[in-house]
């Protein structure tokens, strides 16, 4: 199963709201078998390696960027999704990452 992680500062508000939007988008586009989770920045370094796509709504630091790079995790700007302002580019990047996974 493909796994997407959304991380904000506290993991309680903006990340959960963004997870809601991504789930709605996936349902509307009939995409199944994708798990979308929210977390906070404290947990992120330990859980990130388990995921395929990392959606940030708090600026990723160097440690996080390095983990994503080392594990081949796609990094996507989640702010347009959270705000719901021109989110198409970010959704496309998520789609592209999910498709690339299927080929593996």
């Amino acid at each position: 199963m493909a796994k997407i992680i959304v991380a904000c500062g506290s993991g309680v508000a903006s990340s959960e709201a963004t997870v809601g939007r991504i789930n709605t988008f996936l349902e509307e586009h009939n995409v199944k078998g994708v798990q979308v989770d929210a977390t906070d920045f404290k947990q992120l370094p330990s859980v990130l390696p388990d995921y395929d796509v990392y959606v940030w709504i708090a600026q990723p630091n160097q440690e996080i960027e390095q983990i994503a790079k080392d594990h081949g995790i796609a990094v996507v700007n989640g702010m347009p999704i959270f705000m719901n302002v021109n989110p198409e580019k970010s959704y496309k990047e998520i789609f592209r990452a999910l498709k690339a996974m299927q080929k593996k």
């Binding site: 904000c8 500062g9 506290s10 993991g11 309680v12 508000a13 903006s14 959960e16 709201a17 809601g20 939007r21 929210a38 920045f41 940030w56 709504i57 708090a58 600026q59 700007n77 989640g78 702010m79 959270f82 705000m83 719901n84 302002v85």
Partner: protein
């Protein structure tokens, strides 16, 4: 959950004179503590969270801020609606770039799974031209309560 329950008649402040972000947080935190919505730890937690992870959001129609602290600092879920006399200089969520915010929606979250829908609803509302025009025009707290209540109750 009916999100309009989080909106409180005693938490609409439309003429706040704040020197800066810290001053704004001090004033709003004092009101929230006095009314029993948050614990004494709230102001510190709010500042700490904002320093680490800013909550400013620039929508095409309006620049706002969505300050929130971790649930353990909150006694009762709430949404406080704030307008400031002069924009407050803050940073944007995600990008950490500067912003001058003219309105703040303080979110008191106790149970994230129940209450984050409100955040989705709000991000959509803040892109609604008519809502933003009404929001800017209204300076009476009771009228503002009615405006927001009717929008989130739909």
């Amino acid at each position: 959950m009916n999100y309009s329950d989080m909106l409180k008649r005693d938490l609409v402040f439309l003429d706040v004179d704040a020197k800066n972000r810290q001053d704004l947080f001090r004033q709003i935190a004092a009101k929230l503590v006095a009314r029993g919505y948050v614990k004494d730890s709230y102001e510190r937690a709010l500042n700490q969270r904002e320093d680490e992870f800013p909550t400013g959001v620039v929508f095409p129609e309006i620049s706002v801020m969505l300050p929130h602290a971790d649930p353990q600092n909150v006694r009762q879920a709430f949404l406080a609606v704030v307008k400031v006399q002069k924009p407050v200089h803050i940073l944007q969520m995600g990008y950490n770039t500067p912003e001058d915010a003219e309105a703040m929606f303080f979110l008191g979250i106790t149970d994230s799974s129940q209450q984050v829908g409100l955040l989705q609803l709000f991000t959509d509302l803040l892109q609604n031209k008519q809502f933003v025009a009404d929001f800017r025009r209204i300076d009476d707290p009771e009228a503002m309560y009615e405006l927001v209540f009717n929008r989130i109750n739909q």
